[in-house]
Amino acid sequence: MSERAPLLGVRDLAVSFTTEEGPVRAVDGVDLELRAGEVLAVVGESGSGKSVTAMTLMGLTRGPNAAISGAATFEGTELLAAGDAELRAIRGNRMAMIFQDPMSSLDPVYRVADQIVEQIRAHRDLGKEEARERAIELLDAVGIPDAAKRADSYPHEFSGGMRQRAMIAMALSLEPSLLIADEPTTALDVTVQAQIIELLRDLNRERDLSILLITHDIGVVAEIADRVAVMYAGRIVEYGTLDEIFYEPQHPYTWGLLGSLTRIDRPRPRRLPQIPGMPPSLLAPPQGCHFRPRCAHAFDRCLEVPGLAPRLADAPGHLDRCWLEPERKRELREADSSSALEQPR
């Protein structure tokens, strides 16, 4: 894969919220890099902080209860330090986002086309008619049948899949260079999920659209991602290309994730594999590595927070947060065949 310039660079992102019970560190160390034309998937379970990360990039978590630190650069602009007006000019325009539940993400009292027109006219000086034509074009491009007529429908008259397509159309209306997709398929039926992923993949290829995909579904990751970042309890614990993560995962959590996949090509296990324990409370996270309490291979060094760093000599782009020696990691991986995928011969 050719190396292209990074479109989005995130360093040391940390987001903390003040709540009734105390400060909650939803994000506690996220480093990411997304290159132009690339699909980066951020994988993690619920509560790992992946959505908060995405929303923070868009500036949607700003508020008196939130403490945000770190750096996030997008197309040369420092997002976290940008003023509200500056950020608003980028939001929806250069960088767009689609959300998990299309049913509630569209305003129920306005027609679909009108909502797209609203976004277009917020950033461009276009007449209503022109904007409306553009909206219909977009709806057609994302695969909505009979777009011209359907455009005047209300959101509740669309099916779930169509609504998500409409959201995608809306997000693309100003030709952004980055689309952030926060669990876009989780609320949809399986067949519709496949369609939406295919749509995203086509958009990535045909329009050179970079996508930051947030998901907990590894199957989806395999379909579409170029690079993968694995997130756990507010931190990115592993980052690399799709092949690197699937075939040579370095972090015990990733092993657990891959191990919990149900496989058709293997004999049925007696119990569905699970990572024992529960994710830590973000109010009082464990000292050092956040995965330490659940990790079967933890040792004394794990009380010190591991940095996200490349630890393999031959893979400078493959980063992870685990103190174990690469050799030891390989041993453990080979001992448990479920912890990685087999490289196709």
Binding site: F17, T19, V24, L60, N65, Q100, P279, L282
Partner: protein, 350 residues
Amino acid sequence: MDADREEAGAAGTEFTLDSSEELAGDPAERPGLGPWRLTWRRLRRDKVALAAGVVFLLLVGACLAAPLWADEIAGTTPEENHLSDKVLIDGRETEVVDLRGKPIGPTWSDHFFLGADSNGRDIMVRLLYGGRNSLMIGLAAAFGTIAAGLILGLLAGYYRGRADSVIRWLLDVIWAFPVVLLGVALGTVLALGGLELGPITIAGDSLAIPTLVIAIIYVPYLARPVRGQVLALREREFVEAARAQGMGSLRIVFREILPNVASTLVVFLPLLVANAILLEAGLSFLGAGVQPPNPSWGTMIAEGVERIVTAPHLTIVPGAMLVATVLSLNIFGEGVRDALDPRSKVRIEH
């Protein structure tokens, strides 16, 4: 435990902007603290609401102690006229009600603590007895409404079909009437002739009449939300699971649905009592509620308004008591609502 896990999961994948708690995941991951304990904890921290609740209880206590005050301190009854009596004020002998009909104001002493009304009656005594009546009616009516509204809402929501149609129709009809008008209509008719239900006869000037009237009027206000909730709850998985376990309908209603409806009731109770007290005052003010000679804050205000120019304290005193009671109840009710659903209150810390 699993419910907590699920909630944590749900909180993690669905984000809204204003509740930082949601964004941070479910902080109440401590096992063993059910939603009621949490509510109680939050309520305990709300000093204002607690203070209001205490004030309300004190007012209720004072009114319940009416006979005590009347016998021990004031030495009179709420109906006794002292028109031609004389009282010692600042060393001077003053008539309770002077020749022009103007009664004395507050003496701040044992007798006529808050003054007298134009019939020479001790206002403080009447205030406390009237309060007893007003509070009793308000509380009894509220409980009546809850009982009837709960039953009707449960039946309509759970059994649906015919029962639902009939009950809904009934609720709609009552609902169509403006509260005061219906109260007036029922109150006047019943005050005139009393009520005969088979063997039971209730006299026209009994306190039970306004209680019944008010209870009936508010039934739709409670039954409709309850019905809506039951309709929704009915479709939830835990009800299906209970049915699959072979639980009979009645048991399902009591064990699965009722506890969930309980939170609605808890929020409604203080509101209902407050509104019932206000409605009773309004009806009594008009003459369609508590009938003379029974005292009630409403009738006292009515009497006061007639003579407001000469003796404004006759109006101010009962009204102030009324406001204090209802306000304390409303503040407490607000606190309960916030404790049950903290999302309705946005917290900002600087």
